[in-house]
Every structure is written in structure tokens, then in C-alpha cells.
């Protein structure tokens, strides 16, 4: 079959005009190395006259599993117009220095030398006055910026704030259940599902590159259910739309579980093996029956099960397989304790069933959720018989009781046997795998030998943990090791940083904005946590220098400018934004330093199990204007710090104990012990530490990115995550390369599954196929949490609680979610993208709510509550539930009147339970266990300001 008709095309002069438009000089691999999670779209970048002309999806994926659609042509409209941001009106070309007041928008163009000298002086002031920990950055997953920033902060000894709470993409309920929050199927695994529950996610907006796997699963026989208060865009290709009252999902999920257990259609063997539902709980204390109770010695976290034939059995902490045991899920038994007394115990399942029958029958949930009992029963029967996948976004976790929502979801999957096999599970986010990228920056010397030594030391550390606890799997040993590494560094958790420096305590203490059913106030819990040493108390010195590189604190922080400008900003002697575009935070900075964009440097998009490829973004063109690669910017800054420090007569300074970020450790960083000695840092070692003794320094004085990136690829080969023979050049030659192992990062190892070259990835196979225990306190998927606080809050079992009236007692609830048009606030100023919508932010409201307030489509309204307000245009749509106000996330603050966006009205509450610790997996874990701020279903109202 010929592509072109057999006749010659009619070449006319004018047609050649268009033929000539479609021409280029060169083609490079490209991608978008941002937190477009999971991103990783392989693109081709077409270059004309040294300028990036346009990009197009590579379409280079091979079929992975026969009978499953391929990934092509992965991409989206943002990626297809990234080139239009490259030289667009928000692109930063030159270093800028603020000349007016902060936020006034008056700038002078300055030289790099001038800018770096002034910033270096401020860094030295900070070091001399308080210590290097007062030079701070907030975590960000902007993949093209994080490595250089982390390295700079690590070398300098800066305060590197954990990413988890900063961005709040932490699924706290998944963590409470599984001891980790990062189970992620590869997107093509969705095709294997028989039932897709889209639940707290809007993949039509947020998974544009992968949505087709859901549509194709449907053509393959799956049914799709969209559970959402509004008839959101993901309803369009669903079989069932389940409208649910906002924030009532726990009751809905628990009713499904009630039906499954009540009708006896649960997967009981799965429950016995994988969960703690067969573990025994004391009827007198509501606590687990512990080895210490029964024997007076042994382990406190050694729990029990009951076998009808054998009686009381120690639960195997090292192996979940039943091995012929018939674990009781019902009944009540007498157990004799070490003190001679006898207590009644029963399996968690029995307690749970009693709880569900009493509170969450389909009929009892209806007044809470508005979901009809027939719908619950229909869904329960489907879930129990079909391979079910819950499409969860990072939306549930942004509700005050998001952990309860997620625990109910996990329980739905648990009772139906829906994890650890293709087409099942629940999704979240994970990165990792490209470990070499970290090792190449941290090893003491270049080359394979030094990398091998780091890897060997790391493996030895894991082995030491396994030797200490023979029941520990490698995954558990890795997590123990990361916790130990974390103790060696000083990573402030965002919640304490905001509490200490930004005045959030006042918001968090507002009783009616939090859980009013608690016996104690927020401050009580927090004081208890700090007094007990559950969280390390960071130094209270005021932060001096803030470096925002890739992040955008003023846009994303719940509370926004109102929370930060009057509290944090005045403390800061210097605010530096390093970015390739003008961001909301840049507008309030002292210096704005222009960075190279993704097509102008060598890097990788964020590697994730969703795609499982290492995806090169090559340097297609020279950085525009005077912009520079972040590696070069930080090297320049370090050089200035050395120069100016010496001019002050300084030779060394004291480290504040902050050696590296816990985030880095969890993402794949090696131990820093090899390169850090003592508590002082001499100025002379800054550059060698940053450049690996000069190895990564190029002849022109910058960083040799070619060398650095290639070394990282080779080290990932040594780690065993990339195939033998992979190099930077081999990727350039053959395109993206699929990982062959998840490696030993926190998130990678948490997948707990082997990588198979010809199969879709589904996490937890080690748990279901090999009986590897979950890294929780109970060593099972844990639904019963007998931590003091959970018992006190009556949240020891999954339950429903009403959403607090955060923001005040207002009639409307504000929901959000990522939008269709931008990656966070990136692309918001891209004129091509601005042309695909109304060109400015809006809130979507129901026609009745608009009418009641005399508001018409496109009118300007003020959305307000007790926290703050913002002005925005209204879009009236009947798909919005009455009482709901949708403000999609990602608009830039500077698109709103007064540069005040929706986060100005978000209180940024944290649920007190996030401060719980000293209980197995409930202990600080970088990127994971920590208090996180919430924003969804904030109460508000709106009023008309101006007609359209």
C-alpha cells in the first residue's frame, strides 16, 4: 500500500510554500523534565537555524506485553507547545535585580557577576550569623533542577526542606495501611482491569498521555465507574457516574465493604494472608494482643492470630503466607496473659464487621453520601468479582480526613483480593530507579570502582539490618536504613517550618476548622508529639536566604501570600528565584536568575514506574539569552562564596548538622559518610565537593554536563537498574531505555515487584506471590491502628468523619484538582495554551448557586471565607454539584486581580494525626510520613463584583 497516490502530486508554486514550512536542520530527543508527574513523554525536538522550531511525540515505544496496547504516542498539548514557552513572553533571559519594594515589579538587568556576588555575600552573612542551615530551599520534584540544587545545598550545608509536605502529594491513608504510599502500576497495566473505579481523580485532565488505556480497557470488556461530586470530565467515557456528596467517600467505601462481608463474597484467603484482619485485639483495651502481654517478654510488635485447630498463634512477621493455617476471622477467644489474668480477644475482622454493620450499611450511608443503596450493592458485587483498579489521584490526600478516605479505599481492595495481580490496585506516585544519577554526584571519585564501593557499602548496610532482624525483607531493611540515614541529617519537615516561621499555628489551633470530635485541641497533640521527641525540633533561627529553584512557594503554599509575605518574607535577607520563566514567587524575589529550559540542557524526565523508561531530554539548542544550566549557576555561586568568604578572612565554617536532605536519601541518594567528615566545612573543599575534585568541571569553568549525565547512566547500570551497556550515547542512538529493576530507593523498592521485560508492572507481587510482609507495624496491610491517638480519635479502624468547616461556616465547598491546561503554573503564560481556553482563571459553579447570587457567566466574583478572598471570573456549568465551587489548581497568582489566587482562601490546615509517631511505620519517613496541609472542601461563598 503506497502512502502517496500513484499519480505524481501536482506541484504548484504555492504548495511549495507549505512544503518549505515543514523543514528542519536537526532532530534531538526531548522531554519535559518537570514535575509533570508522571510525564516522561519521549519527544523529538526539531531545530532550525540553531533555534528550537517545534516538537512532536516520538512515538517510539515498542509493544511491551503482547495483547496490550502500546504507549504511543504519549504526550499532551502542553508538551506539544513547550517550544512556544522557550522563547515566549514569560521566558527569563537575563539576571534581574529588584529595584523597588518586593513584589512591586521593578527590575534592573544585572550581570551574573553582580548578582552572584550579592547573593554570595548574603549566604556568608547567614553562615556567620546563624549557620548555613538558614540558607533554605523547599523541596520540589522539578526533575531538571533538583539534582543541582540538592548538591549545592548538600555541599554548603543548607536547610533542605522535605518535599513531601511542601507539595502534599502524600497519600497518608495508603501509607497508614501499607507502610508506604507509592504503589504504582505501569499505565499499560490499566488495560488488564475489569473494573476501573475513577475515584478522587480526573484522568481526562491529568492523565492525558495514558487515558487511552482506560478507554481501551473498556473496549476490552472493562466497566468504568466515575465517582465524583461533579459530573466531571472523566464521566464522559464512564459506564456509571456516581455523584457523591463532597468529602463523604469513607462512608461510601465502607458500605461497599459492608456488603461484601455481609454477603459473604469476600476473598477470605487474601484477607487472612495479606491483612491484619485476622490479628487478635483485646476486648478490654481495644489494643492488639501482644507478645509482651502473653509472655511478659518478647516484642511489643509481635502480634497474634487464632487457628481454630491450633489455637493462639504468633503471627509470622517474616512471611505472610498461611502455610496451611486456618486463621479465624470471627469469634471470640479467651487468652491467658503473663500476669495470670484472662482476656477476651477477637479478630480485627470481627470488630470491623460489627463497626460496619452498625454504621455503614448501604441504607445508613445514604443520608451521608446521597448514593443510592442499590448502587452500593451493585458496585460491591462487581468489585468482589472483577479485577478492580482504583484510579486515585492526589486529591483524596488533600482533604482533612483524606487518610480515612484512602483507608476505606484500601479496605475495598483488601476484602476483594484486588492487589498484587495485573489490572488491580490503587495508584499514587513514585520515582526512583535512576540511582546512578545520585551516586555519580556523591561517590568520592569518578569511575566504576568508586561507584561499586558506594553500592557495596549500601548493600552491606541493608544486610546489617537483615542480620539484626531476620524477619526483615530487603524492602524493610532499605526503609530502616533510610530512617537511620535521616537521623544523621537535619531535614526540617515543612509543617514545623511553617509552624515555626510562618505563623500557621494560629490557623491550626482554630477549633472549628479542625476535628471538633477530639477530646483535645490541636496544640495539645502537637506539644505532646514534640515533648515525646517524636519529631526532631529544628533550630528556631530565622531563615536568611531562600533559594527557590524549580519550586514556586507563593503559588502552591496553602495560605499563599497572605500566610507568607507578612511572616516569612521579612525574615529573609535574600530571596532568590532560579527559573526559566517568570513565576509568582519570582515576582516577589530579590533576584531572579534565568535558567536553561529543558531543551537547552541534558537531563531526564522524572523516571517512574508508570512508564518505566529513562527518557532523555537532550540539549537541542544553546540556552537563550544569558540563561544558564542550574549546575553552572550553583557552581558560580559557590565560587563567589569562596572568593567573598576568603575576602572576609574566613577559611572554614561550622555545619549545622545539615548534611543532606532526607528527600534525597529516599529518592536514591547514597550515604554521605564517604564525603563528609567532621562538623566544619572549609571554603577550599566547597568546589571540589561540588565537582568531584574537579572531574565534572569543564575547561570553560562550568560543569561538564555531558560527563555528569553519562556517569550517572553508567552508575545506574552498575546498580542494576539499567541494562548492561547503556550510556548517554546509546540512549541518544536508540532512544528511551526501559528499566530492568526498581533498585533500592525508598519508592522504587516499595513497588515490591520484579520488573519483567514483557509484562506490564503491577506493584505488591512480592507480597502476594512470595509472602513478603508489608513494612507496617503489624507487618500486614494494616487496617487496625492501635496507636494512642488513633484510639483516642476513634480512628483505629477505617471510619467516616464529617469534613471540618475549615475557613468558616459558609454554604459552599471549594474543590480543586489539576487542570487540563498547565503543569502546575507552567504553561499558564504560553499564548498557544492561553488560546485553548478563556485565557484567564475561573471558578466553575452550578447555575442555581449563580442565580441565587445574581451572577451570570463570565461575571467577576469575589470568593471569600474567614481566611481570605480572591477575585475571579465565573463559569457556569450544570455539571457542578449545587453547593460546590470548583477552582482548578495551577493558575498563576499573577493571573488574578491583585496577584491573589485561590490559595489565599485556603487555611492550610494539617490533620493533627500527621504528628503521630513512635509506632512502627508511623515515624518520620522522608517524603512520606509527616503532617501535610490540606485544602479541599474549604468552606466559602461568593458575591458579584462586576458584570461581564
Amino acid at each position: 500500500m503506497d502512502a502517496v497516490p500513484k499519480t505524481d502530486p501536482i506541484y504548484t508554486g504555492w504548495e511549495d510554500l507549505y512544503r518549505k514550512k515543514w523543514q528542519w536542520d536537526d532532530v534531538f530527543w526531548g522531554s519535559h523534565c518537570v514535575d509533570c508527574y508522571p510525564g516522561s513523554c519521549p519527544m523529538r525536538v526539531y531545530v532550525k537555524d540553531g533555534i528550537v522550531w517545534r516538537e512532536e511525540q516520538a512515538g517510539s515505544f515498542k509493544t511491551i506485553e503482547e495483547g496490550v496496547p502500546d504507549f504511543n504516542p504519549m504526550g499532551c498539548q502542553k508538551g506539544a507547545s513547550w517550544s512556544q514557552s522557550l522563547y515566549g513572553p514569560d521566558r527569563l533571559m537575563y539576571p534581574l535585580k529588584r529595584v523597588g519594594e518586593r513584589g512591586e515589579g521593578k527590575w534592573n538587568r544585572v550581570t551574573w557577576d553582580e548578582a552572584l556576588e550579592d547573593i554570595a555575600d548574603s549566604c556568608l552573612d547567614a553562615i556567620q550569623k546563624y549557620g548555613p542551615h538558614t540558607i533554605v530551599r523547599e523541596g520540589t520534584p522539578e526533575y531538571s533542577t533538583v539534582h543541582a540544587t540538592m548538591k549545592f545545598m548538600g555541599v554548603l550545608g543548607g536547610g533542605d526542606i522535605d518535599l513531601g509536605g511542601s507539595i502534599n502529594d502524600f497519600s497518608i491513608g495508603l501509607y497508614e495501611t501499607f507502610g508506604k504510599f507509592s504503589p504504582v502500576s505501569s499505565a499499560d497495566d490499566w488495560f488488564h482491569s475489569e473494573l476501573v473505579l475513577i475515584w478522587h481523580m480526573n484522568p481526562v485532565f491529568t492523565r492525558i498521555p495514558f487515558y487511552h488505556f482506560i478507554a481501551e480497557a473498556r473496549y476490552n470488556g472493562a466497566e468504568v465507574v466515575n465517582i465524583s461530586p461533579d459530573v466531571n470530565p472523566s464521566h464522559t467515557h464512564a459506564d456509571y457516574q456516581v455523584p457523591i456528596n463532597g468529602a463523604t467517600d469513607p462512608a461510601f467505601g465502607l458500605a461497599i465493604v459492608q456488603v461484601i462481608l455481609d454477603e459473604g463474597i469476600a476473598d477470605y484467603e487474601f484477607i487472612r494472608e495479606q491483612t491484619d484482619l485476622g490479628f487478635l485485639v483485646r476486648s478490654d483495651t481495644k489494643r492488639y494482643l501482644r507478645e509482651t502481654d502473653v509472655t511478659g517478654s518478647g516484642r511489643e510488635d509481635q502480634l497474634y492470630q487464632w487457628d481454630p485447630d491450633k489455637g493462639l498463634m504468633l503471627a509470622d512477621r517474616g512471611d505472610m503466607r498461611l502455610k496451611g493455617l486456618k486463621i479465624a476471622l470471627e469469634g471470640e477467644f479467651d487468652v491467658k496473659l503473663a500476669d495470670g489474668s484472662t482476656v477476651k480477644v477477637r479478630p480485627v475482622c470481627a470488630a470491623l464487621k460489627e463497626h460496619l454493620d452498625a454504621n455503614y450499611t448501604p441504607e445508613k450511608q445514604q443520608p451521608i453520601t446521597s448514593v443510592h443503596p442499590d448502587t452500593i450493592r451493585m458496585l460491591a458485587r462487581k468489585v468482589a468479582t472483577k479485577r478492580t483498579n482504583i484510579m486515585l489521584g492526589y486529591n483524596a490526600c488533600k482533604f482533612y480526613h483524606g487518610d480515612l478516605i484512602e483507608r476505606a479505599m484500601c479496605l475495598v481492595l483488601a476484602v476483594s483480593g484486588n492487589w498484587g495481580k495485573q489490572g488491580t490496585g490503587i495508584r499514587c506516585w513514585a520515582s526512583g530507579m535512576h540511582e546512578g544519577h545520585f551516586i555519580a554526584q556523591e561517590k568520592p571519585a569518578p569511575g566504576a570502582q568508586a561507584a561499586a564501593a558506594v553500592i557495596a557499602a549500601r548493600d552491606a548496610e541493608f544486610q546489617a539490618f537483615k542480620d539484626k532482624d531476620p524477619t526483615a525483607t530487603t524492602e524493610i531493611a532499605i526503609r530502616d536504613s533510610i530512617r537511620l540515614d535521616e537521623k544523621r541529617v537535619l531535614t526540617p519537615i515543612p509543617a514545623l517550618w511553617w509552624y515555626n516561621h510562618c505563623g500557621y499555628g494560629e490557623r491550626w489551633r482554630t477549633k472549628e476548622w479542625g476535628d471538633e470530635s477530639l477530646p483535645r485541641g490541636f496544640q495539645d497533640y502537637m506539644d505532646e508529639a514534640m515533648e515525646k521527641g517524636w519529631w526532631r525540633s529544628p533550630p528556631l533561627d530565622p531563615p536568611q536566604v531562600l533559594i527557590e529553584c524549580g519550586g514556586n512557594m507563593l503559588r502552591r503554599t496553602r495560605g499563599g501570600k497572605k500566610a507568607l509575605l507578612d511572616t516569612l518574607w521579612p525574615q529573609l535577607q535574600k530571596i532568590v528565584t532560579i527559573d526559566f520563566r517568570v513565576s509568582q514567587t519570582a515576582l516577589y524575589a530579590d533576584y531572579v536568575l534565568p535558567a536553561a529550559q529543558h531543551y537547552e540542557k541534558i537531563g531526564f524526565s522524572i523516571p517512574t514506574p508508570h512508564v518505566m523508561n529513562l527518557n532523555l531530554s537532550d540539549k537541542s539548542a544553546e540556552p537563550a539569552g544569558e540563561s544558564k544550566n542550574e549546575w553552572d549557576i550553583y557552581l558560580g555561586l559557590l565560587m563567589k562564596i569562596v572568593e567573598r568568604g576568603k575576602a572576609r578572612g574566613m577559611t572554614e565554617y561550622e555545619l549545622s548538622g545539615s548534611e543532606s536532605s532526607g528527600s534525597e536519601v529516599a529518592l536514591g541518594g547514597a550515604s554521605f559518610d564517604t564525603i563528609l567528615t567532621g562538623n566544619t566545612r572549609s571554603l577550599d573543599e566547597l568546589i571540589p565537593l561540588y565537582t568531584m575534585g574537579g572531574y565534572y568541571q569543564s575547561e570553560d569553568g562550568g560543569v561538564d554536563e555531558e560527563k555528569l549525565i553519562d556517569e550517572g547512566v553508567r552508575d545506574s547500570v552498575l546498580c542494576g537498574t539499567l541494562p548492561y551497556g547503556t550510556t548517554l550515547d546509546s540512549i541518544r542512538e536508540s532512544g528511551p531505555v526501559r528499566f530492568i529493576d526498581f533498585g533500592v530507593t525508598g519508592m522504587g523498592s516499595a513497588q515490591a515487584s520484579p520488573v519483567e521485560p514483557d509484562k506490564t508492572h503491577v506493584p505488591f507481587r512480592n507480597h502476594t506471590e512470595s509472602g513478603h510482609p508489608f513494612p507496617t507495624y503489624a507487618r500486614r496491610a494494616q487496617f487496625y491502628i492501635d496507636h494512642d491517638w488513633f484510639l483516642e480519635a476513634n480512628e483505629h479502624m477505617p471510619t467516616h468523619k464529617p469534613n471540618p468547616k475549615a475557613g468558616g461556616d459558609y454554604p459552599l465547598g471549594m474543590t480543586s484538582g489539576h487542570n487540563r491546561w498547565s503543569i502546575h503554573a507552567m504553561n499558564q503564560a504560553n499564548e498557544v495554551i492561553l488560546g485553548t481556553h478563556r485565557g484567564e482563571p475561573n471558578v466553575m459553579v452550578n447555575p442555581d448557586d449563580a442565580k441565587a447570587r445574581g451572577v451570570k457567566d463570565d461575571d467577576l466574583v469575589r470568593v471569600f471565607n474567614d481566611v481570605g478572598d480572591f477575585k475571579v471570573r465565573v463559569k457556569i456549568a450544570p455539571n457542578v454539584q449545587p453547593g460546590q465551587v470548583i477552582t482548578y489548581n495551577g493558575w498563576a497568582g499573577f493571573q488574578y486581580t491583585g496577584w491573589s489566587g485561590a490559595n489565599e482562601a485556603e487555611p492550610g490546615m494539617v490533620k493533627w494525626i500527621g504528628f503521630a509517631a513512635d509506632y512502627g511505620h508511623l515515624n518520620y519517613f522522608p517524603l512520606e510520613w509527616q503532617p501535610v496541609p490540606v485544602s479541599r472542601w474549604t468552606r466559602c461563598d461568593f458575591e458579584k463584583v462586576e458584570a461581564a
Binding site: 523529538r44 515589579g105 481526562v204 466497566e223 485565557g839
Partner: protein
């Protein structure tokens, strides 16, 4: 146009509306490739709209054009720049560097009254919560078999190529705008600066090199098939002619479009007591009939029966075709990777 009739073929598109997610990647891919000039700012040769809705240009379905039942050109309204809307200028410079300190924010520099844009009524749809409904539809030039635009052009600037693409010789076009009125789909734009009309060129430079058009090759939803309409056994041919599940939009205009649509399903609506009504469709069938004609019912029945067959454990060639296990199968004969072409393309 001296090719014989036998050698003439027709390129056709099939858009699966059950896969389209309204992401606008087709629109953006087209724009970044072809209409980046300032004078083309408001042009979206390919665009996606939420249906029901007024779309782009605003209210285009009420503007007439095409042919009457006797095969004569039917009068049509020539859409105005205001009907298309969009093409806004923005005040980046003033916001970022103008010293306003937040007093000026980034917004379109256009009058508020009667403002409109390519995708102005995105996600609004129709009906009432919880039974509101909407879906997405990409539209581009239909490269009609009987193009009213060609017939209406007083300058004889327009022609249909041997591959079926409808083009306008921009060196001959005198800017009469007659084609804009004649096109019942209103997918022709006007470039005031150059005084020529412009529309989708079917990516003919790509087609000539065996590369699928940008809107097809860049569709991440894998919603668009392309190929020769008469190529027996090809997905496009089978979906249109064998299964008859892909239908032209507004066939009553008589231009015989070559972009075909697989009509959309929708989730069941809810009864007053909030139980699910499995008997009634959410999108009113009469609305779909108004778009695709009475054939839509049979097409939806076929789709439904085949889906049910698979859900019951059976096998369906139609469903397999729509799944498109191998992406390249969607591209018909136009499977060449543009990155592999030499630079003198």
C-alpha cells in the same frame, strides 16, 4: 488536475468520540506547525469543542451553507472575527516588568462584551446536575467529496487534489470569503493581513512523505484513524463501510465529509431517588441524531452489542480495531516517523 478518476483516492479520518478527551493536543499540534504567524493568531484549523455547545465559530451549526436538497449551493452566513473570537493579545510585559506591584494582572487584552474564543464553552455542556452531559468533538476541514467551498470560489482558487485533500491556491485567492459562507462546517478562517482565506491543508507535505497529519499522529488519546477510504480491510474503511459505526457530521449539508465520527456513549443517568436508570441514555438520542442523522442509532447499537459481547467473554473484531493494539495501525499507510526523514523534507 489531470489524474484519472481511477487513480484518485480519498484520505479519510475516523475520530472515535469514545476516546477523545478534549485535550486539544490535535489543535495545538496543528497550530504550532502551521499557524504561528501573528496574522494567524485566531486560526485553529483543528479545534476541539465541548458538545452540546456553541463551539467555534460561535453558533456555527446555525450558519447554513453546503447544498440544498436539489444539490444547489445553499446560502450560508460568513462567520465574523467576533464569531471565532480568540487570538487575544496579553499584557505579559506590563505584568512582569511594568512596576504595577500587582495592580495589573495577566489577562486577555480584549473587550469583555460578547467575548468568545475557540474553546470558550469548554466543559459546560447541557442538562441538569446530576444528569448533565457533554462530550468532546475535534473538528477540522472535512475535505469533502463535494466541497461547497470549491464550488463557491469566484476566483477558482480552490481545488481537490488526487489524494482527496481540498486546498486553496493562496496565490490565486482574492479574499472574497465566499468559501467561508459556503462551508457548512465553518472551518475556514480569514487572514486579514494577507487577504486570503486559510484552512486545514490536511498536512499535505507530511502526507506526501508518508507521515500522518499532526492532528492524527500527535493524538495522545489514540482517538483518530487515518487512511484511504477505499482501502479494503483498513481500519478506516471497515469502520465507515463495514461496521458503519463511523458517521459524517451533519450529513444533511450534502458535502459528503471525509471526517467520520464514532458517536459517544454516556453513563446512565440517575432517577429522582438517585438510583441509576439503566434504561435511558444520559445524552438524549435526538441530540445525537441532530448531529449524525438517523444512522446514529444503528451505529450505537452495533457498538453496544460488540461491547457487550466482549464483556460476556466473547471476542469482537470491531473492539479490537478500536483498541488499536499497535498504534501504527491507526495511521494507515502514513506510518513514516518524521524524525527519520532527512532534513530536506
Amino acid at each position: 488536475m489531470n489524474a484519472t478518476a481511477v487513480e484518485k483516492r480519498q484520505i479519510a479520518w475516523v475520530v472515535d468520540l469514545n476516546k477523545c478527551i478534549g485535550c486539544q493536543t490535535c489543535s495545538v499540534a496543528c497550530k504550532v506547525l502551521w499557524t504561528r504567524e501573528d496574522s494567524e493568531k485566531a486560526q485553529w484549523w483543528c479545534s476541539v469543542n465541548t458538545l452540546p455547545g456553541e463551539g467555534t465559530p460561535r453558533g456555527w451549526e446555525d450558519m447554513g451553507g453546503g447544498y440544498d436538497k436539489d444539490g444547489k449551493l445553499s446560502p450560508g452566513k460568513q462567520p465574523t472575527p467576533g464569531d471565532f473570537g480568540g487570538g487575544f493579545d496579553f499584557n505579559h510585559e506590563e505584568v512582569f516588568y511594568g512596576g504595577s506591584g500587582g495592580k495589573v494582572h495577566l489577562e486577555p487584552q480584549a473587550p469583555r462584551k460578547d467575548r468568545w474564543a475557540m474553546n470558550w464553552d469548554e466543559d459546560q455542556g447541557a442538562g441538569e446536575w446530576p444528569n448533565s452531559y457533554y462530550f468532546y468533538m475535534p473538528r477540522l476541514c472535512n475535505h469533502c467529496t463535494k466541497p461547497a467551498c470549491v464550488e463557491s470560489c469566484p476566483s477558482k482558487a480552490m481545488y481537490k487534489r488526487d489524494d482527496g485533500l481540498v486546498l486553496r491556491d493562496e496565490s490565486v485567492c482574492k479574499g472574497s470569503k465566499k468559501c467561508m459562507a459556503a462551508c457548512p462546517y465553518k472551518k475556514i478562517y480569514f487572514n486579514e493581513e494577507r487577504n486570503v482565506a486559510q484552512h486545514c491543508i490536511g498536512c499535505f507535505p507530511r502526507i506526501e512523505k508518508g507521515v500522518a497529519p499532526a492532528c492524527v499522529r500527535q493524538c495522545p488519546g489514540r482517538a483518530v484513524f487515518i487512511g484511504w477510504l477505499d482501502e479494503v480491510g483498513s481500519p478506516v474503511n471497515r469502520l465507515v463501510n463495514d461496521y458503519k459505526v463511523a458517521l459524517p457530521l451533519h450529513p444533511e449539508y450534502g458535502t459528503r465529509p471525509n471526517v467520520f465520527y464514532i458517536p459517544p456513549f454516556s453513563p446512565h443517568p440517575l432517577k429522582d431517588d438517585m438510583s441509576i436508570d439503566t434504561e435511558t441514555p444520559r445524552i438524549p438520542p435526538e441530540y445525537l441524531e441532530s448531529l449524525f442523522g438517523s444512522e446514529v442509532h444503528q451505529a450505537l447499537d452495533t457498538m453496544k452489542n460488540e461491547m457487550e459481547k466482549v464483556r460476556g467473554g466473547g471476542s469482537s473484531d470491531l473492539m479490537k480495531t478500536l483498541i488499536a493494539y499497535k498504534w501504527l495501525e491507526m495511521l494507515g499507510p502514513f506510518t513514516t516517523d518524521p524524525a527519520e526523514l532527512t532534513s530536506d523534507a
